[in-house]
């Protein structure tokens, strides 16, 4: 009797959980999107896309572009998605080199007169938003611990290496995050390779933690686990405005920026729908959504700058050679583990 009850229960639960057989749904007007942007922006943008085109979107939103990149590699024999959206172009470029992306030149890109530097010359990816690296301060802890000692707020990358920030600085790891790597490359473009390593070694003395994921840095800064951090400006501004986090964002001179990209996966189920999606992202509405909710810079000149952000043209950028940075990534990360070791 007891056994019957157990078996009955398990059978019942299993029957309840039985999913429908695969392959039943038609492909038709539907695309699959892998998004490295947060749920909120992804779902708002996709809803508008469906409203405009009638094409349904199945989205998978993962906060880490690297995870999606690995997933796309692993699925290369039978791609499940049509679109890889979000994350720095540095995550899209290697996929293009491996032949996993489909080239496309969106007419909208040309019509909107977006700078050609924001698109892959071969058309494998399109940039549709921008983000700049910044110095972010937790003002609560600053007022409590730094202000009484009359310490000036850091305004340049070099200021971060000052001894008073010992153990109080955090940044994303250059080994595991795009932002961390772009920071290191920016130092090389700023100072030349040997002086850059000397600077990074000094800075390392101040570092409380290299966070393994990029959002980890903003999380800990917001919670006051560190006083100063290096992170994307839009993350800091977003936290300040959406969650009233006690953060102050300064974009220093010689900063670097990421090109937030979108690309079409080769062999995806719906290439026509994918092209329509890329075209759509380059129109005003999605860029405006991304600027309003994600605080990222639009690539279009006719979309307002995000709330609380300095206009992009007023930022002072280091001469960042994206090709060189991608080319030497393995070697620089190798040297990082050898010299910094964390």
């Amino acid at each position: 009797m007891g056994r019957t009850a157990v078996i009955g229960l398990i059978v019942m639960l299993a029957a309840l959980a039985l999913p429908g057989l695969p392959g039943a749904s038609a492909q038709g007007g539907r695309i699959v999107v892998y998004s490295a942007l947060p749920d909120l922006e992804t779902s708002l943008i996709n809803r508008e896309f469906t409203r405009r085109t009638g094409i349904q979107v199945e989205a998978l939103s993962v906060a880490a572009a690297g995870t999606l990149q690995a997933r796309i590699r692993a699925e290369k024999d039978r791609p499940r998605a049509d679109i890889f959206v979000g994350g720095s172009a540095d995550f899209h470029a290697p996929l293009a080199r491996e032949g996993l992306l489909l080239a496309y030149r969106s007419p909208v890109f040309t019509e909107a007169r977006i700078s050609p530097t924001y698109r892959d010359p071969n058309g494998y990816w399109h940039g549709w938003y921008l983000g700049a690296l910044a110095i972010i301060i937790n003002t609560d802890r600053w007022e409590r611990e730094m202000a009484p000692r009359r310490i000036p707020k850091p305004a340049t990358w070099d200021d971060l290496a000052r001894p008073e920030f010992r153990g109080q600085f955090i940044m994303p790891s250059p080994i595991t995050t795009g932002g961390g790597y772009i920071f290191v490359a920016a130092q090389i473009f700023r100072l030349g390779e040997e002086r850059a390593w000397a600077f990074l070694r000094t800075l390392n003395g101040n570092v409380a933690q290299y966070t393994p994921t990029a959002p980890g840095t903003i999380t800990l800064l917001e919670r006051g686990e560190a006083v100063v951090g290096m992170m994307w400006a839009h993350e800091g501004i977003g936290a300040r405005i959406l969650r009233s986090a006690p953060l102050e964002v300064t974009v220093p001179p010689d900063t670097a920026f990421e090109i937030g990209a979108v690309s079409i996966l080769r062999g995806g189920p719906n290439p026509a729908g994918a092209r329509a999606y890329v075209d759509f992202l380059l129109t005003r509405l999605p860029q405006d959504i991304n600027a309003k909710f994600g605080f990222r810079y639009p690539v279009r000149g006719d979309v307002p700058v995000p709330l609380g952000a300095t206009p992009f043209e007023q930022l002072k950028f280091v001469r960042y050679d994206r090709d060189w940075a991608v080319e030497h990534q393995a070697r620089i990360r190798e040297r990082w583990t050898r010299e910094i070791g964390r």
Binding site: L9, I10, L13, V62, A63, A70, R78, R243
Partner: protein, 545 residues
């Protein structure tokens, strides 16, 4: 000579295995080869030989390997110790609060692993409620010590489940006998109770040790600049999209696991632990010595407080505006979480399927592994192996192995991966109980003409019901709270709750993450509670020695 040996083997096989049993056995071997070995093989052959040969040159990986081993020793020791204490406390009928302790020990299983680490940062971090607000300390929880604490709390329930199952099965008359023969209380405890629980403790240590080795959910949040193999593998993917590097690191992780496995076999399988004789016993357990009782009680209370803090942290996070800054109560997080409520249903589906896979396969394989069948060592190894594989490894293995097949991208792939990954828990629990069963019961049945499958159904299954139920429950809950596998296998349109929660944490929406976690907790508690009530009745009516 060799032909003679083969003939002998064949005769033995014919005597012990009828066609039905053989068919099931072959099926189980094939299933494990396909669902455990093949994905692992696909990951391991992904890097080239040159990649493997370059491992010793990576300082960071060697450091990670050393750290992983240190953490394994520390966390396994503490988690097993706490597990033994809790198992003891919950199986003694004269210990006050045993229901409370049992509940406390079950709780960490319900939360996604990173939630324990998350809650402890809220409680014990620089801005922690306990450390800063209450005690005014400037504490740094990031690092190996924070990880040690978190892993102990996260993994002692696994140890407790296995050890408690064994302790409960010990015939009280043995303790009575020892006492009647004049043994002092301490000696009874040492030479009878704990000695008989040894297969359970060893099995628990094995499961905990490989869980610690494979844990990345906690490490990723709290380990700070303390590289570990599991997190290193995960970061390779997460940040760098480097499948080759991840496969390499995970390959390094397999070495200690295989050693652990062999150690456990050597230690446990050479002794005999027959306590279930089939002759039945309803004798009351003798009273626990007072000194032991108070010591155990105190230790359990302390751990219970630590567990409670996790849930307090999550609950408070779900209802307060902004942790540490604005303590005003709000329901706003719940509105955001409600939008993701559909993911809860997806979780239940996946968890149930995974639970069935684990329970059925675990008990079946445990039974088959006790038969004198050829290759049963292989079967046994394959059933323990999944516990050594970090979730990301299993996830990527399944993608590489099954993506081009119709299985890829379906909920079945997730369920099979999760079910198989948790197989060691079902298997260890069932095997530990089987080891206590005297063979005379079975021999009697065989002499009466029962076939191999009949022996399983009529003799072992009733005795294994509890193991079956526990395997299902553990696998269900772990399946519902899993992230590491799900991250890779989940397809658009099938997003489960933990996945949504992780996204929320990563995007810094901590309040809504806490709210959705609370919903997930309630759901799993209700689901497990319901099945426990049903199964509890079933188990009590089943003939257990």
């Amino acid at each position: 000579m060799r032909a003679g040996a083969v003939a002998l083997e064949w005769r033995r096989l014919r005597r012990h295995a009828d066609p039905g049993l053989l068919a099931v056995y072959t099926g189980a071997l094939l299933l494990l080869a396909l669902a455990v070995l093949y994905p692992a093989y696909r990951v391991l052959v992904y890097p080239s030989w040159a990649d493997y040969l370059a491992i010793p040159r990576s300082l960071r990986w060697l450091q990670a390997a050393r750290n992983s081993l240190v953490m394994m020793v520390l966390s396994t020791a503490s988690a097993t110790l706490v597990g033994v204490l809790f198992a003891f406390a919950t199986t003694r009928h004269d210990l006050p609060g045993r229901r409370l302790f049992r509940a406390a020990a079950m709780l960490p299983l319900f939360a996604p692993p990173f939630m324990v680490a998350f809650a402890y940062i809220l409680m014990f971090g620089r801005q922690g409620l306990v450390t800063r607000t209450l005690l005014g300390l400037d504490a740094n929880i990031f690092g190996w010590h924070g990880l040690w604490l978190v892993q102990t709390v996260a993994f002692f329930p696994l140890a407790m489940l296995i050890i408690a199952g064994v302790l409960e099965a010990i015939n009280p008359s043995l303790e009575h006998a020892a006492r009647n023969l004049g043994a002092p209380e301490g000696a009874v405890l040492r030479t009878v109770t704990l000695a008989l629980a040894r297969p359970g403790i060893a099995g628990a240590m094995l499961v905990v040790a490989i869980s610690v080795l494979a844990d990345f959910g906690n490490a990723v949040i709290i380990a700070g600049n303390f590289p570990l193999l599991a997190t290193e593998a995960w970061f390779r993917m997460e940040g760098m999209g480097d499948l080759t590097g991840a496969a390499l690191v995970v390959g390094m992780l397999l070495v200690p696991t295989v050693l652990l496995f062999l150690l456990e076999r050597f230690w446990v399988s050479r002794r005999v632990y027959v306590t279930v004789t089939g002759r039945g016993s309803r004798i009351e357990r003798p009273p626990t010595p007072p000194a032991v009782r108070w010591a155990v009680l105190l230790a359990c209370l302390l751990v219970t407080v630590l567990v409670a803090l996790v849930y307090l942290g999550v609950l408070a996070g779900a209802f307060t505006a902004v942790w540490g800054r604005d303590w005003s109560l709000t329901l706003e997080h719940w509105h955001l979480a409600r939008d993701r409520a559909g993911t809860l249903w997806a979780s239940v589906r996946v968890g149930t399927l995974a639970g069935v896979v684990t329970a059925v396969t675990g008990v079946l394989v445990a039974f088959l592994a006790t038969r004198p069948l050829p290759l049963r060592g292989v079967l046994d190894f394959l059933a323990v192996l999944p516990g050594a594989l970090p979730g990301v490894f299993v996830g990527v293995g399944y993608v590489l192995a099954f993506n081009p097949t119709p299985l890829g991208g379906t909920v079945w792939a997730v369920a099979l991966a999760l079910g198989m990954w948790h197989l060691p828990m079902g298997y260890q629990a069932a095997a530990a109980r089987l080891r206590q069963v005297e063979r005379a019961i079975e021999e009697a049945a065989v002499n009466l003409g029962a076939t191999g499958l009949r022996v399983l159904r009529d003799i072992y299954l009733p005795m294994l019901l509890r193991a079956l139920a526990e395997a299902f429950a553990v696998s269900f809950v772990r399946g519902v709270t899993n992230v590491s596998i799900v991250v890779f296998l989940i397809a658009p349109g099938q997003v489960v709750a933990t996945f949504a929660i992780l996204n929320m944490i990563q995007n810094n929406i901590w309040g809504a993450a806490a709210a959705l976690t609370t919903m997930l907790l309630l759901l799993t508690v209700v689901a497990v509670g319901a099945s426990w009530l049903l199964l509890g009745r079933a188990v009590r009516t089943a003939p257990v020695g």
